[in-house]
Amino acid sequence: MAYAIETTKLTKYYGKARGIVDVDIAVEEGEIFGFIGPNGAGKSTTIRTLLGLIKKTGGSATIFGMDCEKDKVKILAEVGYLPGEVFYYDNMRAIDLLRYSASFYKKDCTKRITELADALSLDLNKKIEDMSLGNKKKVGIVQGLLHSPKLIILDEPTSGLDPLMQRTFFDLIQRENERGATVLFSSHILGEVQRICDRVAIIKEGRIVDLRSIDDLRKNSYKKVSFTTENPVADFSLAGAGEITQDGSSTSFLYNGEIGALLKKLSALPLVNADISEPELEEIFLHYYEDGEAAK
C-alpha cells in the first residue's frame, strides 16, 4: 500500500518539554484522514515536523515515500498547507500575495486562483491589512489549494469562517479529494472531522491513543442510551456503561458491550421511554481524555 503520509515513532522534544512521542500514522493516498486532540496534544507539532518547519528528535516521517527532511523541497511542491492562524504580508493585496505564492510552483495558477476566489466570494483586490479574520482565512484557503496539491494539510482550518463559508470550504475539500488529493485534517472540533473524514487518529499528550475509521469509532464501540422510568432508579449500574448521569427519573449513559445484556437490563425496568442511538463523536472522544485506561 502506498502511503501519502507515514510516520514511524516520530518524536519531537522542545528541549526537555514533550512535543510528540512515538507517533505512528499511515495515511493512505486519496483518503481524508482526521487528526484530533485538544490544544497542546501535539497535532500542530506533528504537522510542522511533516512540513519541515521543525526538526524531529527521533523516528521517521515520509510523504509519498520521500523523507520529510531530506526531500523537503520535492515534497512541498505537492503539498498545500493551511495553518490554524494565517499571517500574511499586510501591505500586499490578496491577488499579489496569491501570485507571489503561485510563483513558487511550476504551473500557471491564474485560472485556479480566480475559480477559488469566486467560490469563496473573496475580493482579490483588497489589501490583506484591511481584511477581516474570515477573509484572511479565505486567502489562506486559496493559497493552499491554488497549485492543485496532491496532499492537503489543514490545521484547524475552519476557525474564523462563518457556518455558511465552512460548508463551502468542506465542499471544496471534498471536491479536491474526489480529484485525487489526500487530505490530513487536524482539528479539535470533532463534528467537522466526523463530517468529512474516513479515518481518524486521536492524539493525547503527544501520543496516538487510537486510530480507526470514523464508522468503526461510532458504530462498533459505543451506544448512547437514555431512558425514563416511572420512578427514579436508584444507583443504576451495568457492566460496560460509563458516563452515567441521572436526573430524577431520567438516566443516560454511554454503553460499550453486548447489546443483548443491555436490552435485558432495560427490559427489567419500569420504562416509560427508552432511546438507543449513535453517540456524537465528541461524547466518545471524552473517554480518551479521562484519566487511566477506562475508556479503552
Binding site: Y14, L53, I54, K74, L76, F87, Y88, S101
Partner: protein
C-alpha cells in the same frame, strides 16, 4: 514577483529613511567643515584641551580637522557607526523577519530550501548596503561641490565608501549570525547591536592606547584607519580579514538557519 524582488520592495521604505539620515549627516557635516577649516588653529587647540578619552569617544583622536581630509575622516567615523547600525539591522531582519511577522508558515512551506530563501533575503539586504555606501559617495561629491573646495577629493570619498561597505558587511554578517543562533529574534537583534557597541568601545580604547597591538583585530571600526585612508594606503590584510570574518559568519548563519526550528518569536 520573485522572492528577491519582493524583499527589495519590502525593504525600500526603511532604506529610504536610513538614506535620509545619511543625507543629513553628510550634508550637515560637510557644510560645517568650512567653519572648522576657517578657524582651524582654534579648533585644534580646543580639541587638544579636551580629555583624550572624550576626543577618542568623539572619533577625533589623531585627526587634523583643520584640513578638509582630516575633517572628512572624522565625519566618516560617524557615518561608519550609522552604517554599522544599519547593516546590523539589515542582517538581523533578513534572518528573523518572517518569524517576527509570523509569515514563516507561508514562506517556508513553499517548495524552496531554507538556504535558497535565506540567500535571496541576504542578497537583497546586501543590495541596500551597497546602495548605502554608493549614496555616501554621491552625497559626499554633491555636498563638497557646494563648498567650492580646491583640489579633487574623489579618491578619498571612494576609499571611505568602500570602507563603509566592508565594515558594514562585517556587522551585517555578524548580526545575521546572531539572529540565526538566537531562537528569540529580539535577543538576536540585541546581540547584533551589542556587537556594534562593544566594538565601538574597543575602537575608543584603541585610540587611547599608545601601542594597541592586536586590539585592532577586534574592532572593525579601526580596520581602516583614518591616516591610511587619507594617505591611500589601505590595509589589504584588513580588507581580506573583513571578507574572511563575513564569510565565516555567513557560513554559520546558513548552517544554523538550516537546522533550527522555525516558529513565531
Amino acid at each position: 514577483m520573485n522572492l528577491f524582488r519582493k524583499e527589495i520592495k519590502f525593504g525600500l521604505k526603511s532604506f529610504l529613511l536610513w538614506t535620509l539620515g545619511l543625507f543629513m549627516f553628510v550634508f550637515a557635516g560637510i557644510v560645517k567643515s568650512s567653519a572648522a577649516m576657517a578657524d582651524g588653529q582654534f579648533m585644534t587647540e580646543l580639541i587638544n584641551k579636551f580629555p583624550r578619552i572624550v576626543v577618542a569617544v568623539m572619533g577625533m583622536a589623531n585627526a587634523d580637522i583643520s584640513k578638509f581630509a582630516g575633517f572628512y575622516a572624522v565625519l566618516m567615523q560617524y557615518i561608519l557607526v550609522l552604517t554599522a547600525v544599519f547593516a546590523a539591522h539589515l542582517g538581523s531582519r533578513a534572518v528573523s523577519r518572517e518569524s517576527v511577522d509570523k509569515t514563516y508558515e507561508f514562506l517556508f512551506t513553499k517548495p524552496r530550501s531554507r538556504s535558497f530563501i535565506l540567500a535571496r533575503k541576504l542578497l537583497a539586504s546586501l543590495v541596500f548596503l551597497t546602495a548605502f555606501a554608493c549614496l555616501n559617495l554621491v552625497f559626499s561629491l554633491l555636498a563638497v561641490k557646494q563648498l567650492g573646495l580646491e583640489g579633487d577629493y574623489t579618491a578619498l570619498y571612494v576609499r571611505f565608501s568602500f570602507a563603509l561597505w566592508f565594515v558594514g558587511l562585517v556587522f551585517f554578517s555578524l548580526a545575521a549570525m546572531f539572529a540565526a543562533i538566537f531562537r528569540v529574534a529580539e535577543q538576536g537583534a540585541r546581540a547584533g547591536n551589542l556587537a556594534v557597541m562593544i566594538t565601538y568601545a574597543a575602537a575608543v580604547v584603541y585610540d587611547l592606547l599608545e601601542k594597541p597591538g592586536v586590539l585592532r583585530l577586534f574592532t572593525p571600526f579601526r580596520f581602516f584607519l583614518n591616516t591610511e585612508m587619507i594617505d591611500g594606503t589601505v590595509s589589504v590584510f584588513f580588507l581580506l580579514f573583513c571578507v574572511a570574518l563575513s564569510a565565516v559568519s555567513l557560513f554559520v548563519t546558513f548552517r544554523r538557519f538550516e537546522r533550527r526550528d522555525l516558529g513565531a518569536v
